[in-house]
Amino acid sequence: MSLGLPGHLAPHSESRAFARASHVIALVCLIAALTLLAMLQESSPGVILWPAMLALVPMLAALWAVERFRTWYFTAAYLVIGTASIYWYVLVGTAQFPGAAVTDSYVLTLPKIALIMVGGSGTGVLRMIGWCVLGGVLGEAATVAAAMQTGARLAVDGTALVILVVAVAVLAIIGVNRERVRHAQPSLARAARDEQLSDIRRRIEARAAAMMHDTILGHLSAIASEPDGPLRDDLQQRIDADLEVLVGQEWLVDTDNGPDGRGATESDTSWVASRMLRAIDEARDLGLTVELSGDLSCVARLSPARDVAVALATKQCLVNVLKHAGVAVAEVVVYGAQSEVSVMIIDAGRGFSERETSVDRLGLRQSVRRRIESVGGTVQVWSTPGAGTSVLIRVPALVVSEAAE
């Protein structure tokens, strides 16, 4: 989720961006000044402008330094070097055009703009405004000092002044408005965090509900259809297992690290493979004939959490066949692709419409769909009343090379 910077980081980020933008303007202005001088020098060989061009070189170097290291020291260095450069630049430039030079001419304004756009060190609007104003004052002072020496005509530099005012206004707006708007940031950050935690809770609840459905509800139904007399041995064992697991252990705090958990070791992997087979065997115990085909070994590429989910979901699909499809045969096909494993459970029974079937709703939704979705997989169901049912379960798996390592 990207909902912006937290309030305490925003001023840093804004100052850095403002400094970078200022330095870009300064760079373009200095390059334009150099280009113009070079052209003027070329077209008027009689005047000597190249020393003025040289004056801008240290300023360019200082600009590079303050962009690279936005510290107090380099900011001050840029202002000092820039002031000296402008003084020298104006002195040489105006001396070449006695009587004709004016201090607000375009070519003299460009370095002044570059000095206003110092960017400057630190964070916070007031400091940035301070650097801009200081740059503006120093640039103008250097220009006036040089012009007074060469006798150039002094004029108020409207362009430089307007640029200074605009830069200050933009900074002031950001400073004033930030406080007004950023109060929303903590609430947004909290909403994003709450949403993610609520998503984790929903996944875990889905897993809990699926577990309850497969164990407690299944066994209660089995008891409800038992004849009078002693409890069957296998049912006794399952009830004991339920009580032990559900009440005694941390069955929701599992060993994987979320849906991408990849803690599978060699011995886990073999267990993984048997987990799927065990689910199918349990369905066979219930009286279903299961025809198994495809590449069973690819199940070993599933993380423990996904393997358990696929095995239990498959079992639930098989139980559904037995309970609702009206047939005693089902087919399970396992496919392994590069980065996913698919399991398809097919029967030729009664079929159903997922929306209309209230009885199946819980089993299919909880024990199959939500369980698989909670580990990042998908479930597709094709069923037409009278024409059988196919359920396709797809979950991400370790890619072949990773699994081999």
Binding site: S2, L5, D199, E205, A208, L217, L252, L362
Partner: protein, 386 residues
């Protein structure tokens, strides 16, 4: 984040909102600048009616900028950007024609700087690359015009000098805009990467805690009926008619509570929590009509934006939950939401408390439509099923 552009407005809607008054400044400043420059250049103007049209076009640019950059119409699309830029370039062209063959000085012409300032004002709304390309293309156009006018200028310099003078403001301002946007968006990307990492650590830690609490809830439910029944049955190891009946009744009760849990959405939970934490003022809850459970089909970003907005509304002093409601319906595969909130916000300060959250929602739900006839605040939007 897929489908969202590398613009500040779409990555950090609040930052764009911080910069919003710059649009007002530009809308005011650009026409003033054009008018004053036109007045200063009045001796160069041949067609005064065209000069007036050019200034009016800048007024139009300013108004369109304010309209299009409003958070209520976010995000500002590339089409809107092209429209604004075309208007500004048209103003530049008309202004140049108004001084046809009589323009004394290229540095006094306002056309180029207006284009550059417009691109700068659009920095929060468009990606860096687009801003830089727009500036470069505009500079080429302005440069060509300067070249064509070179003979008319008073100063006698090589024509390329005028091109440099004319294009410098556009290049400086548009490259500044591009680097401003680039630095901010890159900073956001880095922050997000760090935040994701920190969150996954938190999620690991909290996941275990949540799992225990969910398990505790389930065990509490089981302990009430299921565990006593099964333990008793195991002690006897005999099934009777009474047991069968009890098993059916308990199974039905567990099933019903599970169905109810399945049907509850995050939005139900959120509205319950919001009502509970706002208790004291009133115990009522915002109504929710979502018969098909479509709230579950929202993406994480959509849920977060809506969650923040709902919590912000609950925090508003005049919010009345009993007169507020959310309705979600399926219309041809898209989920349409109508959210009505009773918020008496008559003055600007009151409204601005919710504005940032509406701005964020506007970025997440592109078709968000807001009506506020105080106290009835109505938001309509739709989303794709996840």
């Amino acid at each position: 984040m897929s489908g969202r552009e590398r613009t500040l407005q779409q990555r950090d809607p609040l930052a764009a909102l911080v910069g919003m008054p710059i649009s007002y400044l530009a809308a005011f400043g650009l026409p003033v600048y054009a008018s004053v420059s036109t007045w200063i250049n009045r001796d160069s103007i041949v067609h005064s009616e065209l000069a007036a049209v050019a200034v009016l076009l800048v007024v139009l640019v300013g108004m369109a900028l304010v309209w299009l950059s409003s958070p209520l119409r976010a995000p500002l699309t590339s089409r809107a950007f092209v429209l604004l830029l075309s208007l500004a370039l048209l103003a530049f062209g008309v202004s140049a024609i108004s001084m046809a063959e009589n323009d004394a000085m290229v540095r006094d012409d306002w056309g180029g700087p207006v284009v550059g300032l417009l691109i700068l004002a659009l920095a929060p709304y468009r990606p860096a690359k687009e801003l830089a390309v727009a500036g470069s293309l505009s500079a080429i156009l302005v440069g060509v015009v300067a070249l064509a006018q070179a003979e008319n200028f008073v100063a006698v310099y090589p024509p390329i000098v005028f091109v440099v003078v004319a294009t410098t403001p556009i290049l400086a301002l548009s490259f500044a805009a591009a680097s401003f946007a680039h630095v901010l968006v890159r900073g956001l990307d880095r922050w997000n990467a760090r935040a994701r990492l920190a969150f996954s650590e938190l999620a690991d830690e909290r996941g275990r805690f949540i799992a225990r609490s969910v398990q505790q809830n389930s065990v509490t439910v089981l302990n009430q009926q299921v565990v006593p029944f099964l333990s008793e049955l195991r002690a006897r190891n005999e099934v009777t008619e009474d047991d069968r009946e009890r098993a059916r009744v308990i199974a039905e009760a567990v099933r019903e509570s599970m169905v109810a849990d399945v049907d509850r959405s995050w939005l139900d939970d959120l509205l319950d929590d919001a009502a509970a934490s706002a208790a004291g003022t009133t115990a009522s809850r915002v109504s929710l009509s979502d018969p098909a459970g479509l709230a579950q089909k929202m993406s994480t970003d959509e849920r977060t934006a809506l969650r923040a907005l709902i919590i912000a509304a609950h925090g508003h002093p005049s919010f009345d939950p009993s007169d507020s409601g959310i309705e979600i319906v399926d219309r041809a595969g898209r989920c349409e939401v109508v959210m009505r909130a009773s918020v008496a916000a008559d003055d600007h300060a009151e409204r601005s408390r919710l504005a940032p959250f509406v701005a964020v929602a506007r970025v997440i739900f592109a078709d968000l439509h807001v009506e506020h006839d105080s106290p009835a605040l109505t938001l309509r939007f739709s989303y794709e099923q996840r």
